[in-house]
Amino acid sequence: MIDGLNPGFILILGALLVPLTSGFIRSLLVLALPVLGFAQMISLGLGSWGVIDMLGLQVVLTHIDPLSRVFGIIFHIAAFAALLYSLHVKDTVQHIATLIYAGSAIGAIFAGDLLTLFVFWEITAVSSVFLIWASRTERAFRSGVRYLIIQVTSGVILLGGIALYVADTGSLAFGPMELGSFATWAFLIAFGIKAAFPLLHNWVQDSYPEATVTGTVVLSAFTTKLAIYALARAFPGTDLLIYIGVVMVIFPVVFATLENDLRRTLAYSMNSQQGFMVIGIGIGTEMALNGVAAHASVSILYTCLLFMCTGAILYRTGTAKATELGSLYKSMPLTAFFAVIGSLVIVAFPLTAAFASKSLILSASLKEGYYFVWLFMLFGAVAVIDNIGLKIPVFGFFRRNAEKDPAPVQDAPAHMLLAMALLTGLAILAGVMPGAFFSLLPYDVSYEVYTASHVVTQLQLILFATLAFALALRLGVYPGLKSAINLDFDWFYRKAGKSLAITTGTLILTVWTAFINLCQRGVAGVISLAVDTHGDGKTMSRTVSSSAAVVAIVALFGVILLVAYQF
């Protein structure tokens, strides 16, 4: 292996070979690349490589430490699984975008300084948008544009932060920092956008369901987890993150409950799970950070797995809306099986990986005395049981459709099932052997996963949540799913001011809307002013009149003359 080469480059450069291949060779190539990257990562071990003195600052192209290695491992696995899942895709662009996107995410994980991080950060943004556009629908295109704007904004803020940071400290080093200066706030916001902090989160639910079947799987794996990694590296123990995390856990679950589209439901739940990790970073103890790394990895496993299952449904039936599905277990038994396992993982059933990872964060919060935070997380855990753990198997596969079950279809293609099996296997393996799993984590932990009380309490939580769900269904109080859109915060930027009276009369909203309107009008004003003055043939772009230029020359000459005299 090439000494010190950032494994991300293997995927990125390999992507350039994709157009030259086709058929079997291409399948082999795209599957080999993550494996090669993985091997490169393992062979490198821990350390720093590619240290360059650039513009008087130190750039470190490759830096591997225990924290980044966990993320590196899981990113490689996710890349492999996602590529395996998308082998049937004939669209070259998607393969290239996937490889570059995964490669740049891995590159970012192993970036040893802020500048390298920024470069990869932007590449992830630009490459991933093609996975959304690959749907080739008007909706997806517009969603992709919104996505791109938000992602690039994150990059721009990051760059601004880097500039300020260098001005402050004279260094590009990427390590723990104190929230205080403009620079660090800029970092927090840049990371927060990608991590889908509350109110900054809408791009997730807006874009993921618009991407292609395979694209969503890929998207779900990298961007948000990359942000979690960046937060974990820069801001461990920042109290503010705990509160952000709590809101993040709670806020999306309401939407997940109401959502009809299973992929969008997943996107909301993923967002909520992300909150656990943000809380963990906020707590910042070694145990909590271990929990963050572990839960991020596990969350990639089950999110990918469930997006694969729902993706398979979409691929076969053409829809992923709960109201249009029913009894799919008959025709897609294997997919249904994997969905059930995936659900068990996400609810943190004993013997699954999440059982081990989630309890790390929960225990860490109790240990530090954050009881209310712990209660909120428990609430989030219950919500995910109902929203995903039960909703996807029940509505997606087992319940009979109230009107008419969709026509029988084939089960998912073999390579998709293989990908699901791979992730399922890993999730179970990590759950069965928590010791091996924990040995990969950045810090040494002595944490006993399988105690009787832990198993019992978790089972209680799961089963009573199931009971409540069943009761709600029986009593008919479960909110009926409707094919509809639920307004989220993105309403503010997608629809502001249009139907003020209908939505809500609250003062906050009015003020918000007025403010947004004002901004819009301001922006529109600036734009139209720019068009009026700078447009083609308008004052500023006029170049025909020499005499006007001469008058300007003479006038400015006079000004300088007067300035120079200093009367």
Binding site: T451, S453, L461, L463, F464, L467
Partner: protein, 89 residues
């Protein structure tokens, strides 16, 4: 897959959902039992970090309450949030 249409599925039988429900209730009760027994320090010792956890079947109750709260909130905000599918188009 025409084969599937001929096949009889257990879930399609009348009353199957009732049976599923009964199993769920049973399992829930089973999960609660150790907690009840723990009151008498029987069978197993419960590790607790907070006083709350000492409440019998705390996790089960909390799960029920949480879900109820979720439902209430969701149903309350729904009228404000739900729009037609083509709202943004």
């Amino acid at each position: 897959m025409s084969r599937n249409t001929d096949k009889k599925y257990w879930l399609d039988q009348p009353g199957a959902t009732d049976k599923v429900f009964r199993v769920v209730v049973l399992l829930a009760i089973l999960a609660a039992i150790p907690d009840i027994l723990a009151l008498f320090d029987f069978v197993y010792h419960k590790h607790t970090s907070t006083d709350m956890e000492d409440i019998p079947v705390f996790y089960g109750l909390y799960a029920m309450i949480s879900f109820l709260a979720l439902l209430v909130v969701a149903k309350t905000v729904r009228p404000f949030l739900t729009r037609k599918e083509d709202y943004y188009d």
